[in-house]
Symmetry: C2
Subunit: 303 residues, 2 copies
């Protein structure tokens, strides 16, 4: 048993699809969610920029969980009884950040860091019979080649098609989930996948699970869909079980959300992704944690 | 005559429509353009965040123009011959930043700062006969109410309709200018304007002038379109003429672009907005200028 929190971060609100799937499997865990809403979207940014933002997110989650842990100890427990590791796992909910920053975060961090790509690829490999797999994602995710190379290393004979679909996130955020514009946009993006007879499609962006219905309408359910929010939650559960780090069943799971822009718009659309309104949303300034990183690095050099 | 540069800033690449219109009217001016591509879009952010980003942009343009001025002096002119004001005007090309940050920038700055809203409203008032005017823009621009109140103070009897159209920027960036999805999206957004018989529509976002053709197709040219990039360039020209600050006709106009993310994607799409590829694009880190603002404020307190 391990009392620490699970940290989840994303470029914005979309990562709440991962939180939703996590809470379904792990209702007793405390989850700290950071949505970098002041700098969303990551999908159009360069790899360097996405890495820098992701390192700031990691640093923030470490500090926020320590503060939370401290408050909890002061409130209820004598210090010697609680374990010294307030953050026990980090999940990168954002596909683009997983593609560009997963290794960098693992280098900086002694706790497990998992991203959404590996488990989604594993699931796709389980589902696909024809070994013709399609991926849709942001420009950044597709350009990184992370999904493509992960599939090819799982099965070198697989045919992999990848397409950036930059209009799908704004369509989801506009709430046009069942709208003729969405159907026509999907038909434009996915025509080549129908021609190529893929049998499995990875929904490689946190927003896309909300378009499951529209994608099914287009393919007439001839294509199996992989939702990375579900597969990464299964991976996280297995990992915590294996290490014996699951939260006590007596503990009530808590979700605390942090955002970098004002919470207003996040709160407006969060229910669509989470399946209910988040209770606690706080605004934070990540530039404090940038300075933190700088100071730490300065200390490292001094030593 | 005034040798200083004109500073133009925008959340990303869209403000190049303003640069294009400026260069058509003022071919001898040196223009410094800042596109905050690492933090685009501004249209979904809160007013506070947009103001903070805009102040950083102003501070950056001041420093960049001083550095440019210094390099030019060192290269060619004895210091006493060149005037001491390296930045002579700032144009906020972004509608959202104009809506939220124009007054804040004017308070911080002794040179003229102009935004895209006032001149567009003035132009709309010239064109509209029925006094039924529509505005389309980002969520931020529409929510700010800046266009609406500006029209109402120009003519309290005018009927003003405003609509946020968040899908139009991604459609332009996807390059779907003449595409069935764009036509269907515009038909969805603009149906109420057709029903309300507006006779003038302000294209209240830097990207929208590229959709002139599609908007004209929808309205069948029964509606006059106002392009704020043209009206703000006319306003800038008149202001420089009036002050006697136009650049010498012997001087060759120069455009230097700065971006906050890697220049690659900016360079890829810039030609669509500018009508040609920008010659010089440099990446800058605005957080240096945040520290600059802090230091300046610390000094102010000390005095």
């Amino acid at each position: 048993m391990q009392q620490g929190a699970i940290g989840v971060f994303d470029s914005g609100v979309g990562g709440l699809t991962v939180v939703r799937a996590l809470r379904a499997l792990l209702p007793h865990e405390t989850i700290l969610y950071l949505g970098d809403t002041a700098r969303v979207p990551y999908g159009t940014r360069s790899g360097d920029t996405v890495r820098r933002y992701s390192l700031e997110a990691l640093r923030f989650l470490e500090v926020a969980s320590r503060e939370l842990d401290l408050r909890k100890r002061q409130a209820s427990q004598p210090p010697e009884q609680s374990p010294p590791l307030p953050l026990k796992m980090v999940i990168i909910a954002c596909n683009t950040a997983t593609a560009y920053a997963l290794s960098a975060l693992r280098e900086r961090c002694s706790i497990p860091v998992i991203g959404v790509i590996r488990s989604a690829v594993w699931k796709a490999m389980q589902l696909s019979k024809s070994r013709r797999v399609g991926i849709i994602g942001t420009a950044g995710t597709v350009r990184s080649g992370a999904y493509q190379s992960s599939i090819r290393s799982a099965d070198p004979s697989a045919v992999v098609l990848a397409k950036a679909c930059p209009l799908l996130v704004p369509l989801v955020e506009e709430g046009w989930l069942d709208h003729p514009v969405t159907d026509l946009t999907l038909a434009t993006y996915l025509a080549e996948y129908k021609e190529s007879s893929i049998d499995t499609l990875i929904l490689g962006c946190t927003h896309y699970p909300l378009l499951r219905g529209a994608v099914d309408r287009y393919f007439g359910q001839s294509v199996a869909l992989v939702d990375p929010s579900e597969s990464v939650s299964q991976e996280a559960t297995l990992l915590l079980q294996k290490r014996g780090w699951l939260a006590s069943e007596g503990q009530e799971g808590e979700l605390i959300c942090f955002v970098t822009d004002t919470p207003h718009r996040f709160q407006q659309v969060a229910h669509r992704f989470l399946g209910g309104a988040p209770q606690r949303v706080e605004q934070v300034d990540l530039s404090q944690y940038v300075r933190g990183i700088g100071a730490q690095e300065a200390n490292d050099h001094r030593i």
